[in-house]
Symmetry: C2
Subunit: 124 residues, 2 copies
DNA sequence: AACTCTATAGGCATATTGCACATAAGGGAG
DNA sequence: CTCCCTTATGTGCAATATGCCTATAGAGTT
């Protein structure tokens, strides 16, 4: 979460973990990852610029490597592949996400609990 | 996720949703919320400064209201209560978090699927 | 020549955090 | 009384990440 307005509460979009996983499944380039990401994930769309910057960042951090591929049609594309380090980080991140899932479930169960109990007596 | 190092992938800590829910359950002040938050949630600890700033921000956005309470022992504390708007935002946020849970589950299932299939032939 | 699609990327303003530090009340030890 | 610890709230600064907009460029179509 970053800019926008500060008014509404935004949630994590798992950009880096998602990209890392996609590239792990199949080496790919930015434009394709944008398509995949925005079709698969059930959240708001992510800016192309954000995707590209995250890919460059992950390459800088040696989670990915890239090489230019000349395609028969259209401009050259940067093909990303995951590194050993990237796989390790992916594994660690998956573990963190499991914890986050617990956290999310904890939030939702607390929320529902409160809605059920407080809802009847405190009907406004 | 914000500062730190840029090296490792950080996940959302649900600070605002968590605080909003806690205050919804019981009006409370910052110091107490820090204790609750850092004890209940299964993630890394959150800076006191971050908690206080989020509370002030949510008050500015009219999700919370605060009033000074003088306690018998120790300095005055700012007691936060949730507003109507805050409850609405909490409800909306809970809906978003349900979606995020799906997203998280989607990530984990894709991840495990890939680990099982790729794992046997590619044992490091 | 103009337009569209593919493909990558940077500038700028804004938002948020981590770390450190400041402030302040009250209580206990010496 | 002074020093220190706990409670309690907050700010300044640098760093980081994103949204929105714009630039660049190859290749094919009209």
């Amino acid at each position: 979460m970053a800019i926008k307005n500060g008014e509404d509460i935004t949630l994590d979009k798992l950009i880096q973990p998602g990209l890392l996983l996609f590239v792990y499944i199949k080496p790919s380039h930015g434009y394709e990852l944008i398509q995949n990401y925005n079709k698969l994930q059930s959240t708001e769309e992510v800016e192309p610029g954000t995707i590209y910057r995250n890919l460059r960042r992950m390459e800088k951090n040696r989670l990915l490597t890239s090489s230019w591929q000349i395609s028969e049609s259209g401009p050259a594309r940067r093909l990303y592949e995951i590194t050993e380090k990237g796989i390790n980080v992916l594994d660690e991140t998956a573990a963190k996400i499991e914890k986050q899932k617990l956290q999310v479930e904890q939030f939702l169960s607390l929320y529902r609990e409160q809605k059920e109990q407080g809802g009847s007596a405190d009907e406004k």
